[in-house]
């Protein structure tokens, strides 16, 4: 019961917390407890049952999947504090956010910053409701780390562009509805000749071919554009502004790819808990293999520091009102630690941790193997570790190229 002595803000927060609790009680099906969000994953298509669909629609209707986005575009319009309360209550209830993917992580925030009013009205609400899957048309066969070398060309045809070329490593391209792409509109200027545009994946002339990876999965695609018509209103910002907009989007990408969120979920099964199942313990319950125990502790200490760093980056960017300049550091460190962890998990499990398929392996063992192999992509995509090092050295530390 509220008392007169209680500060106004606390009681407003308490009211909101109550609202969240009753919403969750009413709308979150207990069967879905602690499940992941298929939409946020690039590893497979959405396989949404009726319960998942209802949960997504309930969250989408409130805009709570993108809690701090403006209400006028279908976001939750919540304050940071309220968004934190929402997160806390969802965690307590074991509820996941059913709204995710590249539209939420990367494209939405960028369009909110650079898009026209019409573009925001058109594209943001379906993202906020989790109805649209976006993919990223950035990399090309000869434009990986040297991204600005891209050659896919958009020719100005008056009321539309005619796009020809090839993109690669299009994550989830085979399941996506739309693509945010950077394309060349001027061949004479490497960086200023790039524009940012939105392409329908079902437009005539778009062809997608999945690429099989060492993990056995095909989350990435090659995407071919042959005389694809893109209406002029799908250009974001001005012609030639694509490099600036595209780089901004990459900052959002780096923060998200650092793995703070998904790794934290993975930590639910700790390395030590796994070790206790697979290796001997002594009579005090400690891991008997002291070298392995030491390795696990060494990893966990650095992992704690990484989580603290991710938390600090969020606090700093809030205080500065922008994306933290250490987004490259987070991407570089988070992906490295993720790979180390996967390798350590295999070391703990021995051959039992290297199953490919069939009998004798649990689902989680098999999933761990695929995750280990898929994880090798994390230090390559989204700007390789080497590219992040260049960004840190040049943009953050001011170490310049040869004169």
């Amino acid at each position: 019961m509220a008392t007169l002595a209680e500060p106004q803000t606390a009681s407003a927060d308490d009211t909101f917390r109550e609202e969240v609790r009753s919403f969750l009680a009413e709308n979150f099906p207990p069967d879905l407890k602690n499940k992941g969000n298929a939409l946020a994953s690039v590893e497979g298509p959405t396989q949404e049952g009726p319960a998942e669909k209802a949960w997504r629609e309930a969250m989408g209707a409130r805009g709570w999947g993108v809690p701090t986005w403006p209400k006028e575009y279908g976001g939750g319009g919540l304050t940071r504090k309220q968004a934190a309360i929402l997160n806390e209550e969802m965690a307590k209830a074991g509820a996941y956010n059913p709204i995710g993917g590249m539209g939420v992580m990367m494209f939405g925030p960028t369009l909110l910053e650079y898009g026209s009013e019409e573009q925001k009205q058109e594209h943001i609400p379906p993202i906020a409701r989790g109805e649209i899957r976006w993919c990223q048309g950035y990399s090309e066969p000869n434009a990986g780390s040297d991204l600005a070398n891209l050659q896919t060309f958009a020719e100005d045809k008056g009321d539309h562009y005619l796009v020809n070329g090839q993109k690669t490593w299009t994550s989830g391209g085979q399941w996506a509805d739309k693509c945010f792409a950077i394309v060349r509109t001027d061949r004479s200027d490497k960086h200023h000749g790039i524009s940012f545009m939105l392409i329908d994946m079902d437009a005539p002339g778009v062809e997608v071919r999945p690429i099989q990876m060492i993990s056995g999965m095909s989350p990435f695609c090659e995407t071919f554009f042959t005389d694809v018509k893109v209406p002029k209103e799908n250009l974001v910002g001005k012609e030639g502004q694509g490099w600036t907009i595209g780089k901004r989007l990459l900052q959002h990408e780096r923060t998200n790819l650092s793995g703070g969120g998904s790794m934290a979920r993975m930590m639910g099964s700790s390395l030590a808990d796994t070790a206790k199942k697979y290796v001997e313990t002594d009579d005090t319950g400690a891991i008997a293999d002291k070298t392995l125990r030491d390795k696990i502790a060494d990893f966990e200490i650095r992992w704690q520091s990484f989580l603290l760093t991710a938390k600090r980056a969020v606090e700093e960017s809030k205080a500065a009102g922008g994306v933290s300049e250490i987004s490259s550091v987070l991407k570089k460190l988070g992906t490295k630690l993720g790979q180390e962890r996967a390798e350590l998990m295999i070391e703990i499990q021995g051959l039992q941790g290297l199953g490919w398929e069939g009998e004798g392996f649990t689902d989680s063992e098999l999933a761990g193997v695929r995750a280990w192999l898929f994880g090798k992509a994390t230090t390559i995509y989204g700007g390789s570790t080497e590219i992040q090092n260049n960004i840190i050295a040049k943009r953050v530390l001011g170490m310049l190229d040869h004169q």
Binding site: D298, S305, A393
Partner: protein, 355 residues
């Protein structure tokens, strides 16, 4: 950098301004040459006392400012950048032991004088070259006997917080207390302290794990000094790479060196988060043992690498006594070995986590 409140920002700016302008590394060179008996300049310590730094973690009712551990860490970090010789950490830790475990009478007697810097305190814990967490010093009828190896700031201290087999005791310098110099590579004050039937007053009002509570504070505050040192080595190395020309190019333009600096920058970010996480845990009173272990382990790991790379990236000049970077290497190893080596801390982390 943690988000600071106004009071903390002012304190940090004051400490940074003072260290940079009044007490740069040339001040440490002077101490090294003049060898004052205390191992630091008494004038400098008096000034620090006047600025209120000795009393940051002491409650206001006992003459301190009670600004908290994050604030103490900010000052210590700045002092670490200029390698200021002072008993700031040692005396703060001694005071915190009394705050945590002292009777009202003990607090009344010592805290106001520790807060002004008039009394210098220190911890006399370890009995060998490595921190083990086991103590054999014993008290019989109020008289303490035992030998403590490598006591930090022993020469200027008049109050020792001594770890005995059954808890912590306050011992004043005087009868039954003798010092024997232990000159270490950092050339700061270290001594073997022998207690031979010295009058000892037990800190009996604290929790059962008082010794560990004090050690966690020692780990975190020491890590804050190490953070300042690592930051400084990084900054001077980056400056050096930006001005040193070889092959008609500044060194900073070479990608091999850029990537090493990017690695060090990432490590430094982790170290800062871990140290600030420790200071925040102390102020919040939550999760301290684990946070302290992470803070010191990360400080050990990163400063170790940074101090080695600092020399290598400077090339030959980094090897000279004329250049400052070598001082950081020599102090780094002393602090790495204090209050738990990396191996000790990993073991502690695993034990705290139950594996």
């Amino acid at each position: 950098m943690a988000i600071l409140n106004e009071e903390q920002e002012m304190l940090r700016d004051m400490a940074r301004g003072w260290a940079t302008n009044e007490n740069p590394i040339t001040a440490w060179r002077k101490v090294r040459t003049e060898k004052p008996a205390e191992g630091y300049s008494p004038d400098v310590w008096r000034t620090m006392g006047e600025m209120g730094w000795a009393g940051i973690v002491i409650p206001e009712e006992f003459g301190g400012s009670d600004f908290g551990w994050m604030s103490a860490g900010l000052v210590v970090e700045e002092l670490g950048k200029t390698l200021t010789a002072s008993p700031m950490i040692a005396s703060t830790l001694a005071a915190s032991a009394i705050v945590l475990g002292g009777s009202d009478e003990q607090k009344q007697k010592w805290l106001p004088r520790l807060a002004t810097g008039e009394v210098v305190g220190t911890l006399a814990f370890d009995e060998g070259p490595r921190h083990t967490g086991r103590y054999s010093a014993a008290v019989d009828g109020g008289k303490l006997s035992g030998t403590k190896a490598f006591v930090h700031e022993a020469h200027g201290a008049t109050l020792f917080v001594v770890a005995a087999a059954d808890g912590l005791y306050l011992v004043e310098k005087g009868d039954g207390v003798s010092l024997s110099d232990r000159k270490l590579t950092d050339q700061r004050s270290h001594a073997e302290v022998t207690f031979n039937g010295a009058a000892a007053d037990k800190l009996a009002n604290g929790r059962e794990d008082l010794v560990d509570q004090v050690l966690d504070r020692a780990r975190i505050l020491t890590a804050a000094e190490m953070l300042g040192m690592a930051q400084q080595v990084f900054d001077v190395t980056l400056d050096y790479l930006k001005q040193r020309v070889q092959f008609n190019q500044v060194l900073a333009s070479f990608q091999a060196l850029q990537h090493r600096m990017a690695d060090l920058f990432g490590d430094l970010a982790m170290m800062r988060s871990a140290v600030e996480g420790g200071l925040e845990a102390l102020d919040g009173g939550y999760g301290i043992p684990r946070a302290a272990t992470v803070a010191k382990a990360e400080a050990n790991r990163v400063l170790h690498t940074m101090s080695r790379e600092g020399i290598q990236l400077h090339g030959g000049i980094g090897m000279t006594d004329e250049y400052d970077v070598g001082f950081f290497l020599k102090r780094a190893r002393v602090l790495e070995s204090s209050w738990g080596s990396t191996g000790y801390l990993k073991n502690r982390f695993a034990a705290l986590a139950g594996y």
